[in-house]
């Protein structure tokens, strides 16, 4: 098909400002198997502007980004155009697109762990983009990497996640491209690192380079974006200046997102408002508004007519047939019935850790992950364990549930059923080749429950987390993210444990899903009277679920106390840092 020899059209050196960095027109992208990733997207990114592309998982953010870069898999069926500095990146031949990428585009991808070539020194990798080692060093320096001279000789696995992402960014901005597509560049990083990276993006802003900043976290978008584009079901729901959109959303979905997000003001002790129902199935899109099924304002006409993006003000446009009727008072998700009263705290302990020490590696490679740590969790209470990445949270957790043996110290769990763990990546905690039913019957069988009772018990528990029986016949891969999270939860509480440990259960989820999971946790812990040990680096979440907070740093608890007090008046630097790092949503810019 395409050959490198094909003559490439001359590309004007300095594109006149009139030509936008990116101009997407009526872009449709369908994958084999009928997955309609994008269904008619129009979008323009002006020079030097930063556009935040938000939307829940599966809404088409990444695909749109790839389209802009001309990196769509060849099997994707494309109509419409996506012009990068005037060059159509979905229509033009590969060689032309490559040229365009080289001259006009850069990219930062979600996972810095896998996005760098593990067998090539980073200096070389950057130089590939920048042309020379000198320029590479310079770029690394700009990307805020200390001592680049030394770093260039290192391999990716010798760098921390944050540094790797900086390397990616350095590559992206090489040759000051017209457009940089950053696909969830901070999602894989912990709060503190995330805020550093966000700062970097702000510093890198200049008149010539525009950014498409993909994220599912409005707060993150707010940190960097001039304009926000909300995607839903492969279509643009709303476009507008960041502040306006966040202050006065005009699309019910945007409003719902804002509302579902937990922050300073989301009230403790009662459930978060959530979006009902499931995200749309991109293989069978509704012929009406994709959001109608979950929209509290939905009406007859919503389900029939496909809403088009209409300009409502010079700076804003929205795609909702009822925008006029709803007007200003879009909001109000219907709040679900509140939780049962929390059981009285007893002084009895669900978990008692004393002088726990754990180290990994031997000899020179030895590093202490947890160092003489004490930790108590009272029955029925919830303790949030916060701290920056690598401080030892997961390790502590694993010892609490008995997956690791401490080198030193004692772990005692209260009377009752053994503790359970909810994993960060729920999907990965389900054995891929086993049916959910089998997975859930396993603990019952091991607990010696007679065969006939098991089936019923599984059904009940699935119902408890709001899943239909039929899920039992599916395998993990066949479920949606939300469903997997619930299954993981259900599995953990099949035999209600005295202690439920959660390792960052929401950090990988987008807003609406996070809310659902948090609600579930809150309700279950109360209904089943479980104590919880809740690991997170999201203080918002910590504040929402926990009665007490324990702040970890360098393998020890540096501060602990009642949640409110700790957050209100942190006495430890580590805590302050964490607080400062939280993308501050409500505070004015």
């Amino acid at each position: 098909m395409l050959t490198a020899t094909r003559p490439t059209p001359p590309i004007e050196e300095a594109p006149t400002p009139s030509v936008p960095a990116l101009e997407v027109k009526d872009l449709h992208i369908t994958f084999p198997g009928g997955v309609q990733a994008l269904r008619g997207v129009d979008l323009t990114v002006g020079r030097g502007e930063v556009v935040g592309l938000v939307g829940e998982s599966g809404s088409g953010k990444t695909v749109l980004g790839l389209a802009a870069l001309g990196l769509l898999p060849t099997k994707a069926i494309v109509t419409g155009t996506a012009a990068l500095s005037g060059i159509d990146m979905v229509g033009a031949p590969e060689e032309v697109r490559r040229q365009a990428r080289r001259d006009h585009a850069g990219a930062v991808f979600q996972d810095p762990m896998t996005s760098l070539n593990p067998t090539m020194r980073i200096g070389r990798q950057v130089a590939e983009a920048s042309g020379s080692i000198e320029s590479a060093i310079d770029l690394l320096d700009r990307a805020g990497i200390p001592d680049p001279q030394r770093r260039i000789k290192q391999y990716p696995h010798e760098l921390s996640g944050g540094l790797r992402q900086r390397v990616m960014i350095a590559m992206a901005i090489a040759g000051s491209p017209d457009l940089v597509v950053a696909d969830e560049p901070t999602t894989a990083l912990d709060v503190t690192v995330q805020s550093q990276i966000l700062n970097l993006f702000r510093e890198l802003r200049d008149a010539t380079t525009s950014f498409i900043f993909v994220t599912h976290d409005l707060a993150v978008a707010r940190e960097v974006a001039d304009r926000i584009v909300v995607l839903y079901g492969g279509r643009v729901a709303e476009i507008g200046p960041t502040e306006d959109v966040l202050r006065a959303p005009t699309h019910p979905y945007t409003a719902a997102l804002l509302h579902a997000r937990l922050g300073r003001h989301s009230r403790r002790g009662e459930p978060l408002p959530t979006l009902p129902g499931e995200p749309p199935d991109p293989r069978h899109p509704a012929e009406g508004c994709a959001f109608a099924a979950r929209c509290s304002h939905a009406e007859e006409k919503c389900t029939t007519a496909l809403p088009v993006l209409e300009v409502t003000s010079p700076t804003r446009s929205v795609a909702c047939v009822r925008r006029d009727e709803i007007g200003a008072h879009v909001t109000k998700l219907r709040v679900i019935e509140s939780w049962p009263a929390a059981p009285e705290f007893t002084s009895e302990l669900a978990l008692q850790m004393r002088g726990i020490t754990k180290a990994f590696g031997r000899g020179s490679a030895r590093r202490v992950a947890v160092d003489a740590l004490d930790l108590d969790v009272r029955k029925g209470s919830c303790v949030a364990l916060v701290g920056e990445s690598g401080c030892g949270k997961t390790t502590t957790l694993r010892m609490a549930v008995g997956l690791e043996k401490p080198d030193d110290g004692t772990v005692e769990t209260g009377r009752g059923n053994p503790p359970q763990l909810v994993f960060q990546d729920a999907g990965a905690s389900l054995t891929p080749w086993l049916r959910i039913g089998d997975l859930m019957e396993e603990p019952l069988r091991n607990a010696g429950l007679p065969a006939k009772e098991r089936g019923q018990r599984v059904k009940d528990t699935l119902a408890l987390v709001g899943l239909p029986d039929a899920v039992a016949d599916a395998r993990g891969a066949e479920l949606s993210g939300g469903q997997r999270q619930r299954v993981a939860l259900a599995r953990a509480v099949l035999i209600p444990p005295t202690l439920l440990a959660c390792d960052e259960p929401i950090s990988a989820l987008d807003v609406s899903l996070a809310a659902v999971v948090l609600n579930l946790l809150g309700r279950l812990s109360r209904e089943l009277g479980m104590a919880m040990l809740f690991v997170t680096h999201d203080l918002g979440a910590a504040r929402f679920v926990s009665d007490e907070i324990a702040v970890m740093a360098g393998g020890i608890v540096v501060e602990r106390g009642a949640t409110e007090e700790v957050l209100a008046a942190p006495t430890n630097d580590a805590t302050r840092e964490l607080l400062a790092a939280v993308p501050d949503f409500e505070a004015a810019r």
């Binding site: 198997g33 199935d281 990965a428 054995t431 396993e442």
Partner: protein
Amino acid sequence: MAVADPIVFGAVADRPARVRRGMRMGVWELGGIVVLVLISLIAIFAPLLAPHSTTQPIAVGPFAAPGHGSLLGTDDLGRDILSRTLYGIRSTWLSALAVVGSGIIIGSIIGTVAAMAGGFIDTVLMRTTDLFLALPGPVLAIVAVVALGPSLPHTLLAVGVVWWPWYARIVRGEVRALLARPHVDAARLAGASNFSLARRHLLPGAFPAVLVTGSLDIGNLVLTLSGLSFLGLGAPPPTPELGAMTANGLTYLFGQPWVALVPACAVFVLAFAANLAGDGVRDLLDAV
């Protein structure tokens, strides 16, 4: 039904991907698999299919060209080559399966134990494996057969001894990778015993890799075994074995080529089909 939609949904992210890759098996590979099935049938039903005895001469006498009284001709002793080839395919094919099978079983056990036990046991087991891996199989086979006398079991023993370590390594690698996966911890928390952990949560994950290697190995084995038999290291005469038949027939290559070529071609077909099928299986399972 009501719940159909949500369950179907998530499939989007993963299922199409897998199916898509799976579909990449070409017609040739498919053909290979088909032929392989046929061969297996032949192997099983050889006794019924063979028109004549494999040891006694038939009426037409020695060196009868194909077609003249017997479909594929007769050999130096007037035996029906077709019948002998059918039996030869049977023994070669079944032997190959036997070696791979035993390799997979032994290898899986040792590999899993090593990976799960870790530490000292792991080291010991793996060093032993390496040791066996380092034994020059052919020499071992030659020595063993010359010493214990030529017989299929001896050859298979000699080959099997050097074949399993390969699988032990693979399985260990896969299992260790799986052990790092959260679903294993989850299973532990669900109170799974080490055994059920291995059986339900680990081995099935290692299986694709093993199956791929195994299916690709069979071609190798067919050639290796017939090679040994060619060197006179297989079953003793008059047992029909493709390698030995060829070796014997090569003596008459220029005058009566069919005596050598028929069994040799059988080896070729066997190996080619196995190789194609192996690639097919690989394409199917590799991506998963």
